[in-house]
Symmetry: C2
Subunit: 345 residues, 2 copies
């Protein structure tokens, strides 16, 4: 594929770049009035996720309206457990909710693997094809999936939680079940990411939102082991791993077969760079709350962050998803500041 | 005061101990049927907190029933914002909720400092006196308060949150207000802790539950600065600081005028010991979910943790509060394992 702008791919591969690329987690959806207009025409979040033309439309909005250097397909990590047999609802202001959960061997009937990705998740790959055609090489398109550990959390807890104690309980009471379920999620996730790539995703990101609730040893056994299998299986395009709160495991993640590691705003980019050297691209990590401050403060704090990067191996992003009540004009100031910044590595 | 068992105080001060002391965060309340019986006689959590005789009763229950080496006064960190002028409700299964919040200078009227602690928080100091009389030196009694940053989070957000984005927003949009409010909370917290000590608390713990949501620099400015003032002001008894998720700031906390640093289960005790040496006692850090496993597993994993301690400067605890659905018999196995463990440092 010939791109007008492939900065994000070059940065991921460690190639030369004329400036840092920038995009935002959750850029598709949430903050744009144009997104809310599309969303308002449909019955809710899930209908939007499952309607390829409309999902493609909101995927492209931030490229047109904000000028980001990459698109990320509008979807949700929970489409995978649903395809495996666990239906979810997205409840306004509460988050995801599953009627059934998997906490015993019998309940593994809701963790199917022997299905065709196109059959059950064809709406995602179709949205990717439509988006790609419409983007026509302006910027690369990012596909994504949840990491097995995070998907496991939702499939066993059945909803969001501060402690995910039901999920963590299983690691002690039924590690055999835990590994079987993680194996199945991993298998489906690899097939799913490959289907996204086949449909046109130019890079993929794996989100481990709940990495931080496990100690180092347990995260190695129940998290990294499966993440590593995914990273090793995806050889077609650059892979980004964002394991939120996995402070203790950054070196282990950087050693995987991935190109980029996501960095939260409460991790220290300079410390991580010291420990991983130039072997990996780091993605992040402005505190999203910076975008609540004045335009001049957004500019100043973004520059501070950029000044702390002593390498070309960076993709600029927030340390977390953009919050729904943020002003798109502040986001534009953030993006403009990155684009005007002179890189000299 | 002459104690039958002052292990926890000696461990905090770095003195010789014949075995590791053990207690559990949230040991008063939650798991004991005897606690639920008391709670059932009252209208709810707040009435129990505000009724000294009953609060004392549930404070002593785990000493009698579980055999812990310390009592901790049954109370809540949110009694401080309430005393300052922000009333809260504890909503079943949802957590705390404040009708008013502080997000502007005008709203600082709900952050009063010029009141007498005994007037508004006398129910806590009275509960401490009653408990102490009843304990009669069997074990030390721990007093506690929330750290200014965590109390600030509740006073500005008005409820629990995954991101506390309203609280963090203020740090960028109105740092003057943030510092003024933090100053006021700090002033009241010092007076409150001193009142607890005067009433008979033999050591105090400061809980910074939301330390982990700030980057290192912001936590230094809005968190540690105020924590440090508290640690420096409390000279009467040993001080424990538990800053959950403050991975980046452990050395700074250990350098404060405190005796003990609480360690979460996803922090590495051996790494922290390496960086702080023998200057400080560490408290923690078994994953509470271990108590969901079998008795033999509880014993094995508790021993594993104890084996990793290469110092006498340890107070054994969970890395977090005990969860409500945990079996008290498993807690007893945990405690028995610690008590039977031969320490040789």
């Amino acid at each position: 594929m010939k791109f007008e702008n492939d900065l994000v791919l070059r940065a991921a591969r460690g190639e030369d770049i004329e400036r840092y690329p920038v995009w935002l987690m959750r850029q598709a959806g949430r903050i744009l009035p144009e997104y809310r207009a599309v969303r308002g025409e449909l019955s809710g979040f899930k209908e939007l996720v499952e309607t390829p033309e409309r999902a493609a439309e909101v995927t492209i909005q931030p490229v047109d309206l904000l000028g980001v250097d990459a698109a990320i397909i509008f979807s949700d990590i929970l489409v995978v457990p649903e395809a495996m047999g666990l239906e979810y609802q997205m409840i306004e202001k509460k988050g995801p909710w599953f009627e059934k959960t998997i906490r015993s061997m019998d309940e593994l009937i809701y963790a199917q693997t022997d299905f065709d990705i196109e059959d059950r998740l064809g709406y995602v790959t179709e949205a990717i094809s439509i988006t790609n055609k419409a983007l026509n090489g302006r910027v690369p398109l990012i596909g994504f999936a949840g990491a097995p550990w995070t998907i496991f959390c939702y499939m066993t807890e059945g909803q969001g939680s501060k402690t995910f104690s039901e999920s963590r309980k299983l690691l002690y009471t039924n590690p055999t079940l835990a590994h079987e379920l993680l194996n199945r999620i991993t298998e489906v996730t690899i097939k799913y990411l490959k289907a996204q790539i086949k449909a046109g995703a130019h890079m993929v990101q794996v989100f481990d939102s709940w990495a931080g609730i496990l100690g180092k040893e347990q995260y190695a056994e129940f998290g990294l082991k499966y993440m590593d299998r995914i990273a090793a299986a995806i050889t077609e395009v650059p892979v980004t791993i964002f394991a939120k709160g996995a402070y203790n495991s950054v070196s282990e993640i950087a050693a995987m077969s991935c190109n980029t590691v996501g960095v939260d705003w409460n991790m220290q980019v300079d410390e991580i760079r010291k420990s991983v050297g130039e072997s990996i691209t780091l993605q992040g990590n402005l505190d999203p709350c910076v975008l609540y401050s004045s335009h001049s403060e957004v500019e100043r704090l973004t520059k501070n962050m950029l000044d702390s990067f002593k390498s070309k191996r960076h993709i600029v992003n927030l340390g977390h998803g953009v919050y729904p009540d943020m002003d798109p004009e502040k986001v534009k100031t953030f993006i403009k500041t990155v684009k005007n910044y002179e890189i000299n590595y």
